[in-house]
């Protein structure tokens, strides 16, 4: 029953039609969340007692950093699904996630560097979290490079899936090795669910922003997947039917 649903949903024509209907709703939701999150973060949240107003970059920095790791995991899992069940859509989700994830990683690094200058007095410090984020960016670049290097896109997707799975096993090892190596970054502020070390007025916009980023990822992913589907099957029958309808 479940598998049948999966197979139905993952057939290109069905996915193309459904995603086309979902995207406008997601876009509306995204702007709603983004508007609320930005207003809450930049206007209503109180200034930090120590870092002043410059802490407000957290509303971009932290969600971007969360997304950078979340997307890598999504990429690896969908890649694994593609490897095992040969679902074409899973392969496409996997590779379409790569460049979005790389952009979020880059965004997290840039905002972190902008935040680091007033706080730590340097654009870049060789600190554990920064370094593991940088390594994550390299992992993304490797995935993208490998995908572009292989001509046949089905083979390329499988290669990328293997690499992503290797990477996902390695990320915890890299993370902790770097953690022991050197750390200057402030500890996790939000993950302590019972008693976050952050004022509630600051926290809620942050969580809303995180949600907005997730929705943005969903939109970008759907758009890229649709594009990739069209590119991979330029002569598909369902595409001809779509074109008929447009005419």
């Amino acid at each position: 029953m479940f598998m049948r649903f999966i197979y139905k949903f993952s057939s290109p024509p069905y996915f193309y039609a459904i995603s086309g209907k979902i995207i406008p709703w997601l876009t509306a939701l995204f702007f709603l969340l983004l508007g609320y999150g930005l207003y809450g973060g930049l206007v209503t949240a109180p200034a930090d007692y120590q870092q002043g107003d410059s802490f407000r970059i957290i509303y971009v920095h932290v969600p971007a950093a969360w997304m950078s790791m979340f997307i890598y995991v999504v990429m690896a899992i969908s890649g694994g699904i593609g490897l095992v069940w040969r679902i074409k859509l899973a392969e496409i989700v996997s590779i379409s996630s790569a460049s979005i994830g790389a952009s979020f990683t880059f965004l997290a690094l840039v905002t972190g560097s902008l935040w680091g200058k007033p706080m730590w007095g340097a654009w870049w410090v060789w600190d554990a979290r920064l370094t593991s984020e940088l390594v994550l960016l390299f992992l993304y670049l490797g995935v993208i490079g490998l995908y572009n290097g292989i001509e046949d896109k089905r083979t390329a997707s499988r290669a990328v899936a293997i690499l992503a799975l290797v990477g996902v096993v390695n990320i915890p090892i890299i993370h902790y090795s770097v953690e022991w190596w050197n750390t200057l970054h402030q500890g996790a502020t939000v993950s302590k669910l019972d008693k976050p070390s952050m004022h509630i007025d600051m926290l809620i916009p942050l969580l809303v922003m995180a949600l907005a980023f997730k929705v943005y990822y969903a939109i970008a992913l759907l758009l890229r997947c649709r594009n990739e589907l069209l590119e991979r099957e330029p002569n598909g029958k369902w595409i001809d039917e779509l074109l008929e309808k447009v005419k």
Partner: protein
């Protein structure tokens, strides 16, 4: 037809690679020469101040070993891929990941073990203390196989590509980070007189994890590259 046992297949692959390497002895020198030359560049670039060299010697030696390993591993499956023997290996009844492990072991014997003999000499040239050199050798002994094992995955993934070289470095270097960190912090600890057993245990753990896990994606990637 008499089939060979898994262990026979494993040792046959190692033996074959060693014989092949022996027939092309001159090529064995290349990674060693590369290793020595990269190390030579550092004093030339930094100046010959003894205290400075002594301080950064382990890092230099490790980075040079890592690059030498990266350079030599590119050819791990190349010849077998070109002459078709890789396809025969895939078709044998034995698990491909065990054969991969044999290939990597042979590569380690041929490219990393010689480095272990030259590394102390390099350490002396960079004014390292002899007990620190001992720890450095231990980390190389534990760490170099991991580099070969991880490198094998990337080689297998980029096998069919015409210009795989630069791509391979991008794929592999991020995965080398943990081993570099543990190795150099072990040597650092030894230099400041702290116990190193913790770092070495971590490296052992990574080594066994790599021996167990890395042949699987390598074999999968090889099958993919051949299909």
């Amino acid at each position: 037809m008499k089939t060979s046992s898994l262990f026979q297949a494993f040792s046959a692959v190692i033996k074959r690679d060693l014989v092949l390497a022996y027939r092309h002895r001159a090529e064995l020198i290349n990674p060693l020469a590369f290793f020595v030359m990269v190390i030579t560049l550092f004093p030339l670039a930094l100046g010959a101040e003894i205290a400075l060299l002594k301080r950064i010697a382990p890092a230099i030696i490790w980075v040079a070993a890592l690059l030498a390993s990266l350079m030599s591993i590119e050819n791990l499956f190349r010849a077998d891929y070109d002459d078709g023997s890789l396809e025969l290996m895939v078709m044998t009844p034995h698990s491909l990941s065990i054969l991969v492990l044999a290939k990597v072991t042979a590569h380690w014997l041929l490219s990393s073990v010689p480095l272990l003999f030259i590394a102390p000499l390099m350490g002396l040239m960079l004014h390292m203390d002899s007990d620190v050199i001992g720890v450095l050798l231990l980390t190389l002994l534990l760490g170099m196989p991991v580099l070969s094992l991880i490198g094998g995955i990337a080689v297998a993934l980029t096998l069919g590509l015409r210009k795989g070289g630069a791509l391979m470095a991008v794929l592999v270097l991020p995965l080398y980070v943990p081993i570099l960190i543990f190795a150099s912090s072990a040597v650092d600890a030894a230099m400041s007189g702290f116990p190193v057993s913790g770092h070495l245990s971590m490296m052992c753990a990574i080594l066994f994890l790599a021996i167990t896990l890395t042949p699987l994606p390598t074999a999968a990637a090889l099958k993919m590259s051949l299909s």
